[in-house]
Symmetry: C2
Subunit: 373 residues, 2 copies
């Protein structure tokens, strides 16, 4: 049975050699068969294959980071990738992979397990950030690419980029980690843990065995609302919404929404829930909690010392409450201690963790400067 995900511009890599038919060895020991990874590309691979930029995503986006001739819909990082943009596709061949475990074309808990002809659901093996990195590496192997100019990722993608640099230290030259961390803090773990509990508390979740048509939409909506709250910053919302009310509605029931900020959360969470598979959300969310650079060397600093990139760029935002700036400071300090070349950009963006998506002004500049150097 072939992959059912068909979106123009999206390619599917059926992972080769030890990645593929004999099984994809997961970081925690399980084996996953018939792994497929969805990816999109922009720009042209140079003859020397020395212009590859590998992009890992946050938890929720697909591989559609930017529009292309095949799919002109705007991507989630449209301002960043394209001709003469900060990641200049006149010069670089950009590959964005949909994470292993995500539901936009890659093998995931929402995929059919060929051995049973049923959807994996919770029979999908435990997923690690390292598996997502390995699946990205496998995708490049399939394309005949042994070396990457730069691995870049924001949020979960930043953790994945770190994992990639730890696992394949000789296969990349540069590393860019944005609004990410060497490992999750307890506050962040508690947010994600509660999000998972909200999904699992929805009676429609049915221990992961829901039907696609009757999936736990309310649990997903609640989890997404909590996510949106953690992705933004209190001061931005103060400026944007303050205490503005929605128009009076005489049929309003007790405890219905009343403030604009509630309306915003309702609207944005509803957009999301119809797109994302609940079990995939659980697996990816948990993988972020469990990731720890210290597992690659005993301590975070020992792990970072194993990374052999030529140049490293760490970007963080002071208003981020999910991956606070202290965590990017920790990464930058770790590279410095290991005598690595590192540039640390502490940005004043007011949009919290989501700044990389929306603060084009600040983010364009730091990424542009990195690739121009």
């Amino acid at each position: 049975m072939s992959n059912e995900f068909h979106v123009k511009g999206v390619n599917i890599a059926k992972l080769p050699s030890d990645y593929g038919s004999t099984g994809f060895k997961m970081f925690k020991g399980s084996t996953l068969n018939d792994v497929e990874i969805a990816y999109e590309t922009w720009g042209e691979l140079s003859i020397n294959k020395d212009n590859v930029v590998l992009l890992f995503t946050g938890l929720s986006p697909s591989s559609h980071a930017a529009s292309s001739e095949l799919n002109q819909e705007k991507g989630w990082w449209e301002y960043m990738i394209g001709p003469d943009k900060p990641i200049n596709t006149n010069k670089y061949f950009v590959i964005c992979v949909n994470s292993l475990g995500s539901c936009f074309g890659s093998t995931s808990p929402a995929s059919i397990d060929k051995s049973t002809d049923k959807i994996y659901g919770l029979s999908f093996p435990e997923l690690s950030i390292e598996d997502i990195a390995k699946a990205g590496h496998g995708t490049l192997q399939m394309l005949g690419i042994d070396h990457v100019h730069t691995v870049i990722g924001p949020s979960m993608g930043g953790m994945t980029a770190l994992a990639y640099a730890l696992m394949y230290p000789k296969s990349l030259t540069n590393l860019i980690v944005i609004s990410a961390a060497a490992r999750a803090l307890p506050f962040t773990i508690s947010i994600r843990s509660l999000q998972r509990e909200l999904i699992r508390s929805d009676p429609m979740w049915k221990n992961g065995d829901y039907d696609k048509k009757t999936s736990p939409l309310n649990g997903m909506k609640l989890a997404r609302k909590l996510g949106l709250m953690s992705y933004r910053a209190a001061n931005e919302w103060r400026e944007r919404f303050n205490r503005a009310r929605i128009p009076k509605n005489e049929t309003k029931k007790m405890f219905d929404i009343e403030f604009e900020v509630e309306n915003y959360l309702n609207h944005n969470s509803e957009k999301f829930v119809s797109m994302f598979d609940p079990n995939c959300y659980l697996y990816l969310s948990r993988a972020m909690d469990l990731f720890d650079v210290a597992e690659h060397g005993g301590t975070v600093n020992a792990g970072l010392a194993k990374i052999h990139t030529k140049r490293n760029l760490i970007v963080g935002v002071k208003s981020d409450i999910l991956f606070p700036i202290d965590q990017q400071t920790e990464l930058a300090e770790g590279f410095k201690k290991a005598k690595k070349n590192v540039k640390f950009e502490k940005l004043d963006s007011i949009q919290g963790h989501d700044s990389f998506l929306v603060d084009e002004h600040n983010f364009s500049k730091v990424i542009y400067d990195f690739f121009i150097d």
Copy 2:
């Protein structure tokens, strides 16, 4: 039918005159009949009745702020109230009222509506912070107390203390507002809005018409977890839990708790849900969103200018994410602009919004100093 709440040391005030038998006029226009308010007292009322300290609580506590001869169980502010403690009961007569709308003895959505002999539930009228202040005022009237030395309150109790000073400006000499605000910010509104939605999403909530024995315990637990996350601070949890794991459990199911911080949230939220009535939670939570000092004068500053206290103390904590320090700064600046005597204490406590409950060292000092002056 008399109040069913019987705890040693708790008194019930059946509100007199215009507060009582002819109905308690609510801030938003409804009338509530037969209002009863639970309260506890410590110390002795002086002959001149000039030593009264009126304490309003946060959303969840009862009137049991400190132990007494009648009830030796520790109270929620045990370190603060007692002989030779910062609020010295050798000198002051302290009254803590259970908020109107709360389920610890005061009239609330969990009370019996005598006109129908049924529990109010959602037929309880819309509750405002001003109603809680008025019920406190009515309780004092019933005790023959016309004037208060100091009105003090933390969190929701701080909002209530502000409302009291706005509504009865001639009936108090001093005001202490702790970790509170002139009005809620959109980020804080979004947290409380989601908490209410978690309760309302529990199928056992039944549109507020649940049976006491089958109440929406899971929704309450989820809401409480989110509350606990907003009451504390990321850095405190980093020091306290970091990434510590709970002991391995071989029967663990997928997505079960794994980290100590998850265990802490589980344990503490379970303690709470069996104690607090879900509808009361909804009403009190919404009242906090809707409170706005600006409704008492057009702007926050115009409202604060109407307060005629002799001395004002504003206390805030830098690590508070629910009522951020900017909001206590706003209060202090407002008093200053109106040429009022105000002292502003910005504390370095690391425990976030909950600091007033646990940071005995810092809070004892500022409250002690205020009452000694």
